[in-house]
């Protein structure tokens, strides 16, 4: 498949913004591990940016408690197009263990994340292994190229 320089560059240098939306931190430290020596994501030119304005991939962890939900949406809007959103961890996808058994909504949870922002990639796991996260990011690259 021939790609233009623009699409290539997009897939070659994705910058990630990590939005923590509640959750227990396990996903966050596994994401940190992705940028640490063992699973160095910079091999692929991927950088962790702390500024949503610089990001291409918006990675969300956590079930999005009600208080942070509007902030999450707002930060997502600050990411310039084209962008891809990854829901990382079981609680970002469905709410995971923070769901109530009787299927009534948990009073504190405004998520799952799919309710608040459009999600493109799902990375299940609690916490997902760094390998899973890397695989998710590779899928995100494919998606980003065709945005």
């Amino acid at each position: 498949m021939r790609l233009g320089l623009r699409e290539k560059a997009r897939a070659y240098s994705p910058w990630i913004f990590h939005a923590h939306a509640g959750g227990c931190n396990n996903c966050d430290i596994e994401l940190a591990a992705c940028f640490a020596p063992r699973f160095d994501l910079e091999r692929m030119g991927i950088q962790l940016r702390n500024n949503p304005r610089h990001a291409d991939i918006f990675l969300v962890t956590g079930p999005a408690p009600k208080q942070i939900a509007p902030m999450l949406r707002r930060v997502y809007d600050q990411v310039p197009n084209p962008k891809v959103a990854i829901a990382c961890g079981s609680c970002a996808i469905t709410g995971g263990i923070y769901n109530r058994d009787d299927e009534k909504p948990n009073y504190a949870i405004g998520g799952p994340v799919e309710k608040l922002i459009p999600i493109d990639i799902l990375v299940p796991g609690c916490p997902p292994r760094p390998e899973s996260i890397i695989q998710g990011i590779m899928l995100a690259l494919e998606k980003l190229r065709h945005r």
Partner: protein, 334 residues
């Protein structure tokens, strides 16, 4: 002065492009070397075969890809900013560095460098870059941008002093303010790195501050003030800032080589031979800067200021004194 020939005009046009690509290679080197020092792999020089479909063959031009990607992104302009200034600030910086790049000799080649006062022009233009960043940061109306601009201004005062003093001590020794002349003086005799190491160290530390490498990345301190003046920039405007930074890297390194390492020329050899030497020296200087970058945490802004006054400024002044003493005792040398 004779009229510029076609070749000279071509060199003026091509020099910034060459500088830009040099800056990209240096940028890659910083990333790769610091990654290796941290026992990571860093951006692949050769991407493994199974991933070439998605990731391309090499990551040597990683900073270039970043820039192209950013150029193709939309740029969001905050509603609270002073829009005109916010938009134009990166372009002001870009103009400054492109002109400065045309003046900076790459491997002794530069038509404009042979002008009298070309050193002053380069230093002056380089001063324009932090000024533009300060303007942009202040115009963005983000508290982080404002704090970043404030820090940038403070740091600029700190590093410009040793930078200028060190550059002028070299000019004193070479008895000229033309970069080309300084190179020629060194090419026939010894490089100034050996004759005036004090100034060389002061200059190197000053350009580390100018390039915002650790321990002097105070204006861009990520965990404190997000990205400093560049906080609100995104997309195309951020790409311009990245381009400026790339240029700045090449210019600073090129200037160091021109002032202290005879622009890469080796006495007794053809002028053409200076190209590989120039590249090698450039990569070496970046290596040293990367080592300092990885070895240190960030200074606090007040610590950085005090340190700059205490060490590089004193070094630069003693370099200047040394230069005068040298001129006085070995007038024949110059």
């Amino acid at each position: 002065m004779e009229l510029p020939s076609t070749i000279s005009i071509a060199s003026i046009v091509f020099l910034p492009i060459v500088s830009f690509f040099l800056g990209i290679i240096y940028g890659y080197e910083i990333r790769k070397v610091s990654a290796r020092l941290q026992s990571r792999r860093g951006p692949w020089l050769l991407v493994p075969k199974s991933l070439r479909g998605t990731l391309g063959v090499t990551r040597l031009f990683q900073p270039l890809y970043d820039i192209i990607k950013l150029l193709c992104k939309e740029s969001l302009i905050p509603s609270t900013s002073t829009k005109g200034l916010f938009r134009s600030a990166p372009y002001i910086a870009l103009t400054c560095v492109i002109v400065a790049a045309a003046f900076t000799p790459v491997a002794t080649y530069s038509y404009l460098a042979s002008f009298e006062l070309s050193l002053v022009v380069i230093l002056y233009l380089l001063l324009g870059v932090p000024f533009a960043f300060i303007l942009g940061g202040a115009a963005s109306a983000s508290p982080w941008g404002v704090v970043g601009s404030q820090r940038e201004a403070e740091l600029m005062l700190a590093y410009e002093t040793p930078l200028v003093i060190a550059a002028f001590s070299i000019a004193t020794m070479a008895d000229s303010l033309s970069v080309q002349k300084i190179i020629d003086v060194q090419a026939t005799r010894l490089p100034f790195l050996l004759l005036n190491p004090l100034s060389a160290v002061a200059f190197l530390v000053a350009i580390i501050g100018k390039l915002h490498l650790k321990p002097f990345d105070v204006p861009e301190a990520e965990v404190e003030i997000v990205a400093g003046p560049a906080t609100e920039y995104g997309g195309r405007l951020l790409a311009i800032i990245e381009i400026v930074k790339t240029f700045l890297m090449a210019i600073c390194v090129g200037l160091f080589i021109a002032l202290f390492l005879a622009g890469g020329s080796v006495p007794g050899y053809e002028k053409l031979f200076s190209i590989p030497t120039f590249l090698l020296e450039g990569l070496l200087i970046v290596l040293v800067m990367t080592l300092i970058h990885t070895l240190n945490p960030r200074f606090r802004i007040d610590q950085a200021l005090i340190w700059y006054v205490r060490v590089p400024t004193i070094l630069a002044i003693s370099g200047l004194v040394w230069a005068y003493a040298f001129r006085h005792f070995f007038p024949a040398f110059i």
